[in-house]
């Protein structure tokens, strides 16, 4: 099945037993490990996608988990626990980016143009190629693309996270999308269009 036919729920939305949350809030280290194990892949994937670097992602993951544990009493249960945790991971990942000054000065070239008539190359690219292309995007563009498309953040929410305007979020999204198209295009230009096969349409 083609990915565009799938609505994959983020694992941050998985339910957590209230009893586990209570123990976590009381500072039970075993409960902390259980929470960590439940969310480690989701949190790691998010941190890695936002930062683009394993070492930075590791820092972000650890800092976010530590903050969650130390501030667990601030969780009021008004949203799913995983979404509260996700917010901490996003905060820490973007803070790591700011610390490392990785994204501040990067501006994508506005003059590049892509062939609008061509099919989106991500429909034809395999996961490895898309992963590589994503990692070649500038930090801000990659983070905005991920937050918008995968985590479902609005432009207003993204702007808040970055401490910038919504125009920043929109322009990073547009430029990131265009750049992603360019990065993927050469690799799939000779690939036959899968339309007509039974997997899409």
């Amino acid at each position: 099945m083609h990915p565009c036919d799938v609505e994959t729920p983020t694992t941050f939305q998985q339910p957590v037993e209230p009893e586990l949350i209570e123990r976590f809030k009381r500072g039970d280290l075993a409960a902390f490990e259980a929470v960590y194990r439940a969310f480690e892949r989701a949190a790691w994937t998010l941190a890695l996608r936002l930062t683009g670097r394993r070492d930075v992602a590791q820092e972000a993951l650890q800092d976010a988990m530590l903050k969650a544990f130390e501030r667990a009493r601030q969780f009021r249960g008004e949203a799913p626990f995983g979404m509260w945790l996700r917010k901490l991971v996003v905060n820490e990942a973007l803070m790591q980016l700011r610390h490392d000054r990785l994204h501040i000065i990067e501006v994508l070239d506005d003059d590049t143009r892509s062939d609008d008539a061509a099919p989106p190359p991500w429909r034809l690219a395999d996961a490895a190629a898309l992963d590589r292309a994503l990692n070649r995007l500038p930090d801000a563009a990659r983070a905005v693309l991920w937050l918008y498309h995968v985590e479902g953040f609005t432009h207003v929410e993204i702007a808040e996270q970055f401490g910038r305007s919504t125009s920043f979020s929109k322009s990073q999204l547009a430029r990131g999308t265009r750049r992603l198209r360019e990065l993927l295009a050469p690799q799939v230009e000779d690939t036959p269009c899968p339309l007509g096969s039974t997997t899409t349409a």
Binding site: H2, E33, E78, P119, W122, A127, L130, W146
Partner: protein, 194 residues
């Protein structure tokens, strides 16, 4: 964001979102939990030390602050006279013993504050950007004082520099404590929740 359709009539946004969501989840390094658990235990231990040792450290700081005018009064001798006293062992003996003791006390206090700050630096919460900048400034000032101490010959100046060093170390220590104070004192109605 554009909602244009490609030549298959599919929304570009939707296809990109689906492609990105289709990427497999990554697996963190296998030792990540072990590192996190170690870090958590260390921070708990530091917190215990902080909350048991902090009152004593603050009391020592207040005592020093209160006692300081009495200490400095003893140095209210004109600088040339003090220089003469310090250059003459025979004269230094009756009057120089007290400043030497006070100097040793200041140095000892400075060493204790420094050890406390170093422990916080190693095991405490990471500083945010603003606190980090403040810490760097304080460390620079301490470095400058160390430089001045290495050149100081006047006992009163030396004592004054040691006191300044202690004050800066105290400020540095408080900077490291801020994350804990904020975490523990944030009122519930100011707490940002989802």
């Amino acid at each position: 964001m554009s909602t244009r359709l490609d030549h298959h009539g599919l929304n570009e946004d939707a296809t990109l979102a689906a492609a990105l969501r289709g990427l497999p989840a990554e697996t963190p390094p296998t030792d990540a939990w072990a590192q996190l658990a170690t870090r958590t235990r260390r921070r708990r231990s530091t917190r215990r030390i902080l909350w048991t040792g902090l009152p004593a450290a603050l009391a020592a700081g207040i005592a020093l602050f209160v006692a300081w005018p009495h200490v400095t009064l003893r140095h209210d001798v004109p600088a040339p006279a003090r220089a003469a006293q310090s250059s003459s062992p025979a004269q230094a003996s009756p009057n120089g013993a007290a400043p030497a003791t006070e100097l040793a006390a200041l140095q000892s206090s400075s060493a204790q504050w420094q050890a406390w700050v170093q422990n916080l630096d190693r095991n405490g919460a990471p500083l945010d950007g603003r606190a980090l900048a403040g810490a760097v400034t304080l460390q620079d000032r301490i470095g400058l004082i160390d430089l001045q101490l290495s050149a100081a010959r006047n006992p009163a100046t030396t004592a004054d520099l040691w006191q300044q060093r202690i004050t800066l170390l105290q400020q540095l220590g408080l900077l490291h404590l801020q994350p804990y104070l904020v975490a523990d004192q944030t009122p519930p109605n100011h707490t940002k929740t989802l």
